[in-house]
Symmetry: C2
DNA sequence: AGCATAAACGGACTTTACCCCGTTTCTGTT
DNA sequence: AACAGAAACGGGGTAAAGTCCGTTTATGCT
């Protein structure tokens, strides 16, 4: 007895029907969001339109905000590919400082483009508001900071601060109206400000 | 005719009973929050315990998150007094760079101390998630930046970035668990990181 | 193939945020 | 002091979030 008590690695792979339903729910959610905006996306509505039970939707996403987090996750996957394996200076190959600047500019564009979903993904009652994948930004910045010579600085905290400086404007400080009015200028504005910030911080 | 069409300044002062109820609701909300945490604070429950109608609660705060925003507002009023009229270097009298550092340290402490309410005040479906009063941080930073000599920088954007660097860690990036474990060290940690950041940014 | 087990499903049920509108209370004016 | 208008109040009603548990379905093993 007790032969199989210690964990066997992963408990088991995700079941095939679960995968199918998850993908189906995700695309359905995307459709509903595109058609009716964040407010028009309800759990009942999603379940019904996807032809699944409500319980399934909740097990999958846990909470309403979870749906939007899943959508963000999905979009970030593409973005992350560019960062990890795309052409420089965003991808590997350029000096760390330039990669950092390029990353911020790209991220600014990404956040502005996905502002509605990103906002809807916020949920104060959840342990980690921004979702499982969001630290991506912070981790990547941390990695690049590691390649720079910065004396007497807590790189871990600095990476958090910089990540916040990148996402904060869209998530916390700019009203939806401001955002929607001048979308085009805003991306460049945040991107330029990011570059200025990095150049000041990384100066010897 | 049309004599009184143009606005008469303020529409009218806030009614006395409204003020009384608002204050009463605020203290009741604070009690419930202290006793049962954010989850235990429901609109019905608050109304009942305060001996008022549910409609009243909603007119006052608009939404559930609005209650927590009101609580934050209230707490920030005290904090703001220190900043506007307290002793230097937090209050007026010290050089701008030192005030900026002092402000960040104080704000870090404030955010860590009020993390639970601040988190609960987040609401992705509202135009300006952080509440009417939250720009305070950004406005104050903007003012101090104005007194520094910074060449070729968009001070407006920089102030938004810095405000985000200050609030973001608590609001967006650190999980509740991380926060609750090492509260004491965290304030100092964020404060020190802020000082490092400012010193780097403001270097000539 | 048949079986045992764990995971996923479905939808009724409960709770809660939020809306609405008839009623009450305040306040400035005469 | 009485009045008119505006603002605030109350609490029932609606819809959506989130929970639960009995049932179904996939999967690894024999």
């Amino acid at each position: 007895m007790d032969r199989l008590v210690v964990s066997w690695g992963r408990p088991r792979a995700e079941r095939a029907d679960a995968v199918r339903n998850r993908l189906h729910l995700l695309t359905t959610a995307r459709e509903m969001f595109a058609e009716q905006g964040a407010d028009g996306l309800t759990m009942d509505g999603l379940a019904q339109r996807a032809g699944l039970g409500k319980g399934t939707v909740f097990r999958r996403f846990g909470t309403r905000a979870g749906i939007f987090q899943a959508l963000m996750d999905d979009d970030e996957r593409t973005f992350q590919q560019q960062v990890l394996a795309g052409p420089p200076p965003l991808g590997p190959g350029a000096p760390a400082r330039e990669r950092l600047i390029a990353y911020g500019r790209a991220r600014a564009g990404f956040m502005v483009a996905h502002r509605a979903v990103a906002r809807a993904a916020l949920d104060g009652s959840q342990p980690v508001p921004v979702g499982t994948r969001a630290p991506m930004s912070q981790v990547h910045i941390r990695m690049l900071l590691g390649q720079l010579s910065l004396d007497g600085v807590d790189r871990d905290m600095l990476s958090v601060q910089l990540a916040a400086a990148l996402d904060g404007p869209v998530l916390l400080y700019l009203s939806s109206d401001e955002l929607d009015e001048a979308v085009d200028g805003l991306e460049e504005c945040i991107g330029q400000a990011w570059q200025d910030l990095i150049e000041r911080v990384c100066r010897p």
